[in-house]
């Protein structure tokens, strides 16, 4: 009888905790952060956004208070999506695995 493959729903989370993966992601994060700054909106009211982007360990973060508006837009702003576009601009493949 063939074995049944059961996918591990926590696989990605578990991989992220491996020291080797952390090292690779920590090396890539500054590259993505640079790309995010490159595609960040300029000439708008959100000109502080680019300066707020930083690589922290294996992640890229923004400390700008209105970063959700920059990323997803609003009634007065298009979705500039610098984080999502930045990942692709850095030469990576963007996959949205965030929880809805």
């Amino acid at each position: 009888m063939a074995d049944v493959f059961i996918p591990n729903p926590a696989m990605i989370a578990e991989l992220k905790e491996l020291e080797g993966i952390k090292l690779v992601m920590a090396a890539v994060a500054p590259i993505v952060a640079d790309a995010v700054r490159e595609v960040a909106p300029r000439g708008t009211g959100h000109h502080h956004y680019a300066d707020s982007i930083q690589a922290v360990d294996s992640t890229v973060e923004s400390t700008y208070a209105f970063s959700h508006i920059v990323e997803f837009g609003s009634i007065n702003n298009p979705p500039y999506a610098p984080l999502r576009r930045g990942v692709i601009a850095a030469g990576l493949r963007f996959e949205d695995d965030s929880a809805p």
């Binding site: 007065n76 692709i88 963007f94």
Partner: protein, 130 residues
């Protein structure tokens, strides 16, 4: 190929989905509305150059002025169902798949009170018909 426009036309063909466009409509209060933005248009690595592309779209689905959350959610579900039926021929363009359709709630805080909004992201894969 302008997949933003093609998607817009596909959704506009269903009147029950209300206003659908690529910018904020003049009247944002009388009915729910949808705004489509093309975030990326990436040639598929597995296809010939300038042939198949993956268009990554964000659709903002807003409630009307009475700010009914269920209304915005129903709109999101209806739009997602319509997108799922999109594969086929569209004005010389073959849409081969619509994938990774995710819905998340993110009220728009630039309106007071914050207006109920769901964000639907989707990848539309397409290539020329000939």
């Amino acid at each position: 190929m302008d997949l933003e426009a093609i998607t817009c036309s596909w959704l506009q063909s269903v009147s029950a989905l209300g206003q659908v466009g690529t910018r904020t409509p003049a009247d944002t209060d009388s009915a729910p509305w949808t705004c489509i933005t093309l975030l990326n248009d990436i040639p598929k690595a597995s296809s010939s150059a300038l042939w198949a592309v993956d268009a990554y779209l964000q659709l903002d689905l807003y409630a009307a002025g009475d700010n009914n959350q269920a209304q915005a959610r129903d709109l999101a579900d209806a739009v997602r169902a319509r997108l799922a039926a999109m594969p086929g021929l569209h004005a010389g363009i073959v849409v081969s798949a619509v994938t990774d359709m995710r819905i998340r709630r993110l009220p728009d805080t630039e309106l007071v009170p914050a207006r109920e909004r769901y964000i639907l992201t989707a990848t539309v894969t397409a290539h020329p018909a000939a």
